[in-house]
Subunit: 541 residues, 2 copies
């Protein structure tokens, strides 16, 4: 495999891995560059080679997506919901090969990837329910008032429609749940947007398997082929051209700040600027209140280390910053966290590049004159990151912005504050974050209450007595936050509200029943909840 | 008035006009530049002189707005609603001086401005109801499931919170409804955002009167002074610095494409980019179907000319483009519209600058080799625009993008298409628009149905057998559309949905009842509708 000669496209089941991408219904071997995944556990490269798409292939994917847009968005809700469920089933049907391939390409352990597959499948099924439910359409009807003075009132009806084809950039750290069939793809497809996905180069085989599962669902559901394409890029050119393509109307991205900012720039410079939903970087402050530290400092320390080690710290919501007021209770916490960390193993990182960046990030802290090491975990193998905990003073933290930069991996920094006021200043100095956690006892409520408004302005999710690393897929979840944790703090990339990113409102004035979209007709044939004259009117039960 | 010596700040009622702006509770005479409004009906300048704010004054307005943000957003809904109603009442209380001043500064006639005042006041009162109703908060509760396997589910609660202080740029063409207390200000204040408004230089006296009405409502309601400031700018520097100020978190703007694009650039280049809601330009295609033309071509022609002349064509939704298939019925329509137009009077334009741009725009069409004049209205006085109607072929229109540029004023272009396919191509060539109108008879339904998907992708509001110039303030209104009609096609600047522009979601995980915002407590003390486990649960009746 991987030779220059053409290889016949796959005839087999959904578990075939042979270096292909998908341009609509075609399975295509790329021609530009040649890259293989690296198994970060063994350091070995993994066959087959993946080659990047050409600009012509990208153009075809975008053309097909554009052609598919109108027919796909006008599908009955039930058909769109069944399509999402078919994707979920096809992913399950790949079976263990998907888990094994993802393990090899990411270094993540089996239980984690099995859990992530469950999350991915559950997410697709949840969005199928969102589509059936139809409340996301935000239906509003203001009936005509022909007798109104001085002017009669027209008949107005509003619904949300999808923006158009969406570019999705797979993330490295969740090869299933934030990648080819992850939250961005699920919510975009649910909204009625075709998807052109750009595979993450770290897990091309996993991407191919999942891409083929979606392609099969498109075919089995009798949908226009352009509803989904998956392309590989041997560098940055194809991904950048994807964002610049005039037929692409929105972008979903999870990755580095540099990568997200680059895509934002391209999107803003287009003749028609488009929204970019980039989830970028976050250090997720954890605030330990005095009462909680006294009451259960040791227990919080255990929970903190468990959260810090999850996925080798490669979570967007990893607890990278601990804020607390100096004192005996904080010392006890630090001692507890330090000894738990010293007993922890190094964790395999997703890619050699991420490992290298982690080593450099830890070194930056270690060599900082105002930062003291608290503890390190056990040394590991080639691409394993050693968990690390450091401390510094609030004064030093406030004086050096570099100390607030994310170190992607199992490293955290304890900031010792002299008092509440200093702690508030540190919080106020932070950039936008995905999450903040408060650890409090009953006695801390009054102090905590004062900080909540500050946190609301800084983060998308505020947790009490927990850590951000579990991100429930649910209606009330916000996985987003003010810039630069995301490019657009008005959005979430996890939970049912994520669908709103890919919608815009359209109003229909005095349109005859026969021309109205079904969901806005008086008869309400789809039985969806609506707002009539500003008051909720339930659809069919 | 207008001399360099300081003049004591006003002691009188709300009908005082003496060249002041408002930095929180202070009434301030600017010091930079010196500008007076021009009465476009008489050509005379109007006292007093207005001087621009300094950067220090702008800084103070932004600082006060930021300080006011937390207390203002945490007001009880009833208090915020009453504040909006107090603004409405104070505007009415200004009495006739407001109408007379607006007439003098805009050249708009009394009935139009009285109607616009009604709209402005009605809009504030409607947003008071939106605040009381609370549905805009998008409350969602996913209760904990401690027994869930393999992991217990946490308790998650979501609400929308305001973005922060908002910069509002008053528009020239609606000196009341889209200016200092217009839709942007009303929806931002309703959302819980303090407002720093930048007065439009064409109607400074009107702006001062309305600004003082808002300032009085802030004081009478006992709110932090920074909830509202009004600044003047003698050039562009202060307006640009306002958008660049880190304490400003969103921008509302109605005006030219050049102006909107300039603000977008500033907003995107900030350390923290912020959303700009700019409503910019639109030619609002009107599509005349064959059946409708045969059935009532003459009547449509009358309606069209009435719409075209409204406000001297200075409406964002003025019908600037007519599309129809060649033939006898179209000729009849053109003859009817032409003769109605020939009998129409020239209309006073808002400013000498707008008049000049209109004259140039009409001249551009007149001198175009592929454009034929159909009719002109009667010649007018100094700053009056002569209504004009032109025609061209679809081929010529498709060949020259300049023909699709907005001419702000009572000018429209009829594009003769050979057949439906050519008409569809013309539609497809258009940039994003605020509105599109379809004039159809029963016999045209099948043809119209084919165009609706194209229109949905191009515009924010689709009208049948009407014109876009009436913009109802209602829950189902969309006054927005794909770029470049607005900077952000996901939004509307008119109607209750406009509040969504200034909100973002925050999620609270496992937060004790005592620390939760009132609207998310189990007891639901504010009685607001919520989504519990994804199902709607009504609040208090």
């Amino acid at each position: 495999m991987g030779g220059a000669a053409p290889i016949p496209a796959s005839q087999g089941g959904s578990d075939v891995i042979n270096g292909e991408m998908f341009i609509g219904s075609r399975s295509v071997r790329g021609t530009s560059g040649e890259a293989r995944a690296v198994n970060p556990t063994t350091g070995e490269t993994i066959e087959p080679a993946y080659r990047g798409a050409t600009l012509a292939e990208l153009d075809e994917a975008c053309r097909l997506a554009w052609e598919a847009f109108d027919p796909y968005r006008s599908l009955e809700p039930e058909a769109r919901a069944k399509f999402l469920e078919a994707i979920a089933q096809n992913i399950l049907d790949i079976g263990d090969e998907l888990i094994e391939r993802a393990m090899a390409e990411s270094g993540l352990p089996r239980p984690r990837l099995e859990g992530e597959r469950g999350r991915t499948v559950g997410q697709l099924r949840l969005f199928a329910q969102v589509v059936r439910d139809g409340r996301y359409l935000n239906l509003r009807i203001d009936p005509a008032q022909p007798e109104r003075k001085p002017l009669p009132r027209v008949d107005l009806r509003l619904r949300m429609i999808p923006l158009g084809p969406v570019a999705v950039f797979g993330a490295s750290n969740f090869p299933l749940a934030f990648s080819v069939a992850g939250g961005d793809t699920a919510s975009a497809l649910a909204a009625g947007c075709p998807v052109v996905a750009k595979a993450h180069p770290a897990h091309p085989g996993t991407s191919e398997l999942v891409g083929r599962a979606i392609q099969k669902a498109v075919q089995d559901s009798g949908l226009p082929e352009g509803v989904f394409s998956l392309i590989f890029d041997s560098g940055y050119e194809i991904g950048q051209a994807l964002v610049a393509d005039p037929r692409i109307k929105a972008v979903g991205f999870t990755g580095s700040r540099r990568g997200g900012l680059a895509l934002m720039k391209i999107a803003q410079r287009r003749d028609e600027p488009i929204p970019v939903y980039a989830e970028m970087s976050s250090i997720n402050p954890v605030i330990l209140f005095p009462g909680a530290l006294v009451e259960r400092g040791e227990q919080i320390a255990q929970g903190f280390v468990t959260s810090l080690l999850m996925g080798s710290g490669q979570f967007c919501t990893s607890p990278g910053l601990i804020l607390a007021i100096e004192g005996e209770a904080l010392d006890t916490f630090i001692a507890g966290a330090g000894s738990a960390l010293e007993n922890s193993n190094a964790g395999t990182m997703l890619t050699p590049g991420i490992h290298q960046a982690y080593v450099e990030g830890v070194e930056r802290l270690r060599s900082h004159t105002q930062v003291k090491p608290i503890a390190h975990g056990k040394a590991g193998e080639r691409y394993q990151g050693v968990p690390s905990l450091f401390s510094t003073s609030a004064e030093a933290f406030l004086a050096d912005k570099a100390l607030a930069e994310e170190v992607f991996g199992s490293t955290s920094l304890v900031v010792r504050c002299r008092d509440e006021a200093e702690l508030a200043r540190v919080l106020d100095s932070l950039e936008g974050q995905l999450t903040a956690s408060l650890h409090i006892a009953e006695a801390d409520h009054d102090d905590a209450r004062k900080l909540i408004p500050v946190l609301e302005r800084k983060v998308g999710r505020i947790l009490v007595n927990g850590f951000g690393t579990g991100v429930e897929v649910a209606p009330a979840m916000v996985h987003g936050g003010p810039f630069p944790s995301t490019s657009d703090g008005r959005s979430t990339s996890v939970g049912t509200l994520a669908i709103d990113r890919f919608l815009r409102p359209v109003s229909y004035q005095d349109m005859p029943e026969a021309l109205l979209p079904a969901e806005l007709r008086d008869s309400n044939p789809l039985g969806i909840d609506r707002l009539v004259d500003g008051k909720p009117v339930p659809g069919a039960a």
